[in-house]
């Protein structure tokens, strides 16, 4: 016992070891989370793109009431008819 040296103070190495272990695990968990989030976003976007497009409604231009004559059989006015 007289020749036994005192226990060395190696607590700094212990702290470094546990810090490394926790940091590496935390980084991996974060990488799993980020990859999962990005893939979910991709999935949502692709599902939107994959949906069949809804039929497009083409709106007929309304005839202005001032130009309407009310006579459906009336022929359109052309240069020929004006000369006559």
């Amino acid at each position: 016992m007289f020749f036994q040296e005192a226990t060395p103070d190696t607590s700094g190495y212990m702290i470094a070891g546990y810090a490394v272990a926790f940091i590496v695990m935390a980084l991996y968990v974060a990488s799993l989370y980020i990859r999962s989030r990005n893939l979910t976003q991709d999935m949502t976007m692709l599902e939107e793109m994959d949906k069949p497009a809804p039929p497009v409604k083409v709106q007929q231009p309304k005839k202005s009431p001032a130009k309407s004559t009310g006579n459906k059989s009336a022929k359109p006015v052309t240069k020929k008819s004006r000369k006559k």
Partner: protein, 232 residues
């Protein structure tokens, strides 16, 4: 992404709890080793991560065999998940070992058989991901990956038995003695309790991360299929 199953949520919480308990046991409950001092406490996490990583590499080799027989890509995803989680755990093992070696052996690194085989194993599996990145076709990538993981799986038992087969300075704390080893110690009952709890902890964490990684692989697969459907 589909919502997490309840069992996985419970496992997530359990992993955090057992990690906290294990840290307490290692830092507070276990007695200080008189020759090396506090740095010996990294031993619990060092062995815990090494144990699960080596089991993971062997599991990946088994999944490779099943993939090569069935040609079902599900087994490829399991193999990738096992290797990725094991790679992270084995990185922690090597880092902790190096930190322990500095005060114990007076060097961060030495080309001892155990350290060399461990470094080779880590590099083999880093190269595995590089190989997969280089192949676009899913079936071809899975086939090459399976063969590679199967051959790479041999490195896991070699790493484990290196300290039992070769003359090395790495201590054999469990069931073994080595005259050349430096840094060996006998475990007290409290140390044994902490040690076995650390093994249990890292097994739980491994299963949890493995399951999460499998789900990520499944999601990746669905996104790939949807991309193909949209572009065609």
């Amino acid at each position: 992404m589909q919502s997490k199953p309840i069992a996985l949520k419970v496992l997530d919480v359990l992993s955090i709890i057992v990690l906290g308990i294990s840290t307490y046991l290692a830092l507070v409950f276990a007695p200080k080793e008189l020759v090396m001092g506090d740095v010996q406490r990294v031993f619990y996490f060092h062995i815990g991560t090494a144990w699960t990583a080596l089991i993971g590499f062997i599991l990946a080799a088994v999944f490779s065999v099943v993939y090569l027989i069935t040609k079902n890509l599900k087994w490829d995803r399991l193999q990738v998940a096992a290797i990725e989680v094991s790679l992270v755990f084995f990185l922690i093992t090597i880092a902790l070992g190096s930190i322990w070696a500095r005060p114990a052996w007076n060097t961060w690194w030495t080309w001892d058989p155990r350290l060399t085989t461990a470094a080779v194993t880590e590099l083999i599996y880093i190269a595995y991901f590089m190989l997969r990145q280089g192949i676009d076709e899913p079936e071809k990538r899975a086939r090459f990956g399976a063969v590679y993981a199967l051959v790479g799986g041999i490195s896991a038992p070699i790493t484990f038995f290196a300290i039992r087969l070769f003359r090395t300075i790495h201590p054999v704390v469990i069931s073994g003695s080595n005259a050349a080893a430096q840094g060996s110690f006998n475990m007290t009952p409290d140390m044994l309790t902490t040690f076995f709890f650390a093994l249990f902890t890292f097994t739980v964490i491994f299963i949890d991360l493995f399951w999460n990684r499998i789900r990520l692989g499944d999601l990746q697969e669905r996104v790939e299929q949807l991309k193909l459907k949209v572009t065609m």
